[in-house]
Symmetry: D2
Subunit: 361 residues, 4 copies
């Protein structure tokens, strides 16, 4: 059951980094939506490796083929299956690692869990699995857009020690994509590039933070207990490879404030109830309040590096590792469309749930 996400708008992903291909089945998409497949492909292109000098040189066209669920450009209400073939597998690059465990990869834990592992690549732990998510998220975003239920923008807000200054209430995808870092703060972006270039040269890698805003989400989405919006967002983002932390609104910093400093005062604006501040991050009691939803996801530095490391073989013998093969010094720019996809999936699911509960268009 681990390969499905969502309830009413549900994706099921399949595929490993090496094998026939990866893909997704999107179940529960409302019918009669004119699906913009170019927009879906554009999101896949933003996710794929090799799109800029910052990312891994692995070259995959990542063209999605739609296998079902569409008729004359519109959704049928039936499952939309999409398939992306694996085009550039190089198992030989992994040959020397078949009998050892790469530090901070999933090699060892896969063996512990399954007793078998495809050593020719990262398996389901590969970022390649996220292709299906990004495709599903792109469809979810279109459902939300048609319903006027929110728009989603994510960006790189931190790489290593470089922090960006970005206005969540106005930033656009165009501003984000104007930088290969996907950090719309030009100065920070320049510094990030310098550090990422240095890490690449050094065979090292860097982590950072992706921030995401969902604007225009109607009040009332989310459920009060186990499917609080923030709970579903947290699960969504922590399910991304390399994600180690999540915050909504004031997050960890908010724990340093007192109640009077933290509470968001209500006021009325043109008949709509608003909050003066937004430390709640757009969600109160697990339910959206109509303010901007603001999330942050922490990504650790990529585990694949070219420096010498200590590790063990599958037999438990000590052995040094100097990885060859591809090396992505900073996954953050590519994590941006992944984060957006997961946020869109959660919102779309809750939008449909709310429609089930109280009706509406």
């Amino acid at each position: 059951m681990g390969s499905s996400f969502g309830h009413l708008f549900r994706i099921t992903t399949f595929g490993e980094s090496h094998g026939g291909g990866v893909g997704v089945v999107i179940d529960g998409c409302p019918p009669r939506l004119s699906l913009d497949l170019e927009a879906v492909q554009a999101d896949l292109d933003r996710r794929r490796p090799g799109q800029s000098r910052l990312t891994t040189p692995r070259q995959e066209a990542d063209r999605a083929e739609v296998l079902s669920g569409l008729f004359e450009g519109r959704t049928l209400g039936t499952p939309i299956a999409m398939l992306v073939r694996n085009k550039d597998p190089r198992p030989s690059a992994y040959e020397h690692m078949r009998d050892l465990y790469r530090p901070s990869h999933a090699d060892y834990t896969y063996d512990a869990k399954y007793g078998i592992r495809n050593w020719q690549g990262g398996g389901r732990a590969s970022a390649r699995e996220t292709i299906g998510r990004v495709a599903g998220g792109a469809v979810a975003r279109q459902v939300l857009a048609e319903a006027g239920a929110g728009e989603i923008v994510a960006w790189v807000s931190q790489v290593h020690h470089v922090d960006a200054d970005v206005d969540a209430s106005t930033v656009t995808r165009e501003q984000v994509d104007a930088h290969i870092t996907r950090c719309p703060d030009a100065n920070a972006s320049e510094e990030m590039i310098r550090r990422i270039d240095a890490a690449r040269r050094d065979g090292d890698s860097l982590g950072g933070v992706v921030t995401c805003v969902a604007r225009g989400v109607p009040a009332g989405l989310g459920e009060p207990v186990f499917h609080k919006l923030e709970a579903d967002f947290a699960a969504a983002l922590l399910s991304l490879p390399a994600c180690k932390g999540f915050e909504i609104g004031s997050g960890f910093a908010g724990t340093r404030l007192s109640g009077i400093e933290h509470n968001d005062a209500f006021y009325s604006e043109s008949g709509r109830i608003r909050t003066r501040t937004n430390r709640s991050g757009g969600v109160q009691g697990g339910i959206s309040n109509g303010e901007d939803i603001v999330l942050r996801a922490a990504f650790k530095p990529t585990a694949t590096i070219h420096k010498r490391q200590e590790t063990v073989t599958t037999a438990g013998d000590s052995v040094p590792l100097e990885a060859e093969g591809r090396h992505d010094p900073c996954v953050l720019p590519r994590a941006v469309p992944m984060v957006e996809a997961m946020v869109a999936l959660v919102l779309c699911d809750h939008f449909l749930r709310q429609r089930a509960l109280v009706g509406g268009g």
Copy 2:
């Protein structure tokens, strides 16, 4: 569907803070477990208000009645239902707030979602809903204990600006409960008490962080994609009232490290594969690796304060609020058993999933 949590070991909670009572149905508990009901009640006692001078004075005995699922002290494999009556409702204390929205509470969002709200209390947003979780978590912990699949200890590691220094690998529940703060660092605990007392006198409230460790969890629990252990933990903790952030292992701080600094080197110890460091927090690729699982959850300062605040009526008119009624200046000590319960529920569910997948005792 929002009131159920877990798949194979699943709890369904019910009840509002004001009404007949709150409770839980625990489904999927393995049969023939000698259930220690005193241990369940002990966890409920750790959760309830009024247990020390630090918490809300609301007095509820919170005695759990087991309605089903047990026979001669052992579990039957059928649903275990537990009920805790509401004993101390004081709707009159809320009378003056029936037509206004308390800042940073769920009043407004409940109205936006449901179009109706029980103004006599916090409804499902009340911490009282967590009684069912704590009861369910106490059962889950016993399942894990019997299977030798892990022990869980949580503690308060930060209140406002006070940070504690605690060794996650050795800290015990006894050490935690030796302090009314549930912070086992005596010096930090003293300072926390001072600040919480000051906040109470001031009608203000404080937030903080609960850290939780699960030791002795076998390698192989968790799923590689959407039900990564950390994803389920994140959902579990973010579903608790007032939780705004989650970290596992190095978390947000890990984003300031480079790959070579962050990776956990493998080594072999008495035939068991271990890691030299534990920045992964016991989980790699979503699956436990046998090291300590270390989590952190951020709790904002409680929204209920006695200071004057700006808000609006349900009709949208501006109105000042000076809350009366109960006031819990710091929810952190009571959040400790809640965090433990949610972590136990996640681990127990994954323990049973793994047993389904590959068999075993």
Copy 3:
């Protein structure tokens, strides 16, 4: 996971025949419904034993207490928990059967599954478990009624060799309840009573068929593949104790017709598309077509009889059984509200799913 039914409108039942009580948590009920609790209780009264001379003499008032989810008579959108205490447990009546397996009961299979069994009663296999279903179904029926999405009537259409003649398109609950058999065909009912009385005197039991119609269900409910309406109905009815068969529309008899005899011709009536015949039973391709939905459920004769039977002890030794205790010679009259409840639950769930998919009131 076995104790929950439904997706968007979901019930979770708990409780054994002997123990604290039985009940249900109803999750996903739309908010602001003025819930008629007397109607819920009336359904429970129709289900309970002892209501006529035809049923088991076990006397239980079966008063449902609502623990949560209501405020001032209206639903809150939060879980509605209901509890019915067990009032008339007589474990001593089962004492002599603690170490043997009653034929065609669940005693042996419970032991095989769980390795433990409450021998003081039927456990979860008891018809008493259906109290929670009937309560949940009564709420579902009110949701459907308020939405104008269908009314449900079931009746006893066969007992042993006695077949009734009833017009499914017009029969009312009043007509059904005018007979203690719940068979609205007066002649058949008289004959059924004679046979049931004879079976009681003889220590034997009789089975039969309950037919159920749902009228006024809008076209478009149901899903085309695994959640075809008839698939969900079949699961719902086969989950009732003693149910061994299910038919929709022409059912097994339809297999004796040819295609041209079986197909339902379409025609147009006042702008609405209708079928001339209804061998489809109101469902085509898994989706309602607006015609009456007609279902039949077969119930075997009750396993509890007072005749001498061959069986074995838990140790496997041969032993004769002459059951004492209660004896319900024909469960059919009481099965009527159970069938209605399950049908209502399925329809309500699909009504909400359809609203999620395409919106609407």
Copy 4:
């Protein structure tokens, strides 16, 4: 959510009869199983049209491509995706039917549900959708076989008025496949062939019954309430196209027996507890008792016939229909592998659930 079936062993099917293809994602398959892909293909071949003169002449090779989840012939524990391309679409054959509703097909109900329909074929209502189920069921059968948890054989036991006489306790797949009818009673098979040939010539169609036995299923599978084995079997079989009825054990005929005639006496055989008769059909209280599980599924005559019928256009105008295109006069032989697949899926899911609950190999 309608496109997924099962909980721990879960399939998600996708695809329409016309479009890129159909397929399945199998999630939850235990790792390290040496998957016999030829056996999977053999089941697909038994399902596909054109395999004998009795079935529709549509010619599809139906070769399954495995996209993921396998490594060196063994399962990885990750999702197994399989794709079968659509090779013989002939939308022109449907052109004349695009604006009318074929009687007893899903055309009208799809429009009622979705407001859109791919008129070029049967969409998800096509028997072609069952390719994914049969592939998934073939994998499930191998899981069961490896675990020694049961073998499944189905056959055609009735076509129109011809009833077969078959011994469920001994019949083999080889005996079934020795007849193009898949009826292992030679005399009945001959007569069935005559009737099916006559129906084909006449442009008419015939229905019938498939019986299925699962032998060697361990006692203890199934859950006592909503996921009784028979409830899951009923849902599984009623989800197949054209299925209108379900029975387990004595079924509808059992309603004509009295309790003493119906109860299955227990006895002990070589230390194993058995029943003298098997009117329970191998399931008591929803849980397997170790006896043969015997099920029957009723299939109505195929809706596609070549006789003149009354219908309406999508605008509601009366219009005669004389269907052209393919015509399968009797779906029963092809339904046999579908029934086996669904039964295997249910058993495999419950086998894993039971392993989760009580452990074991």
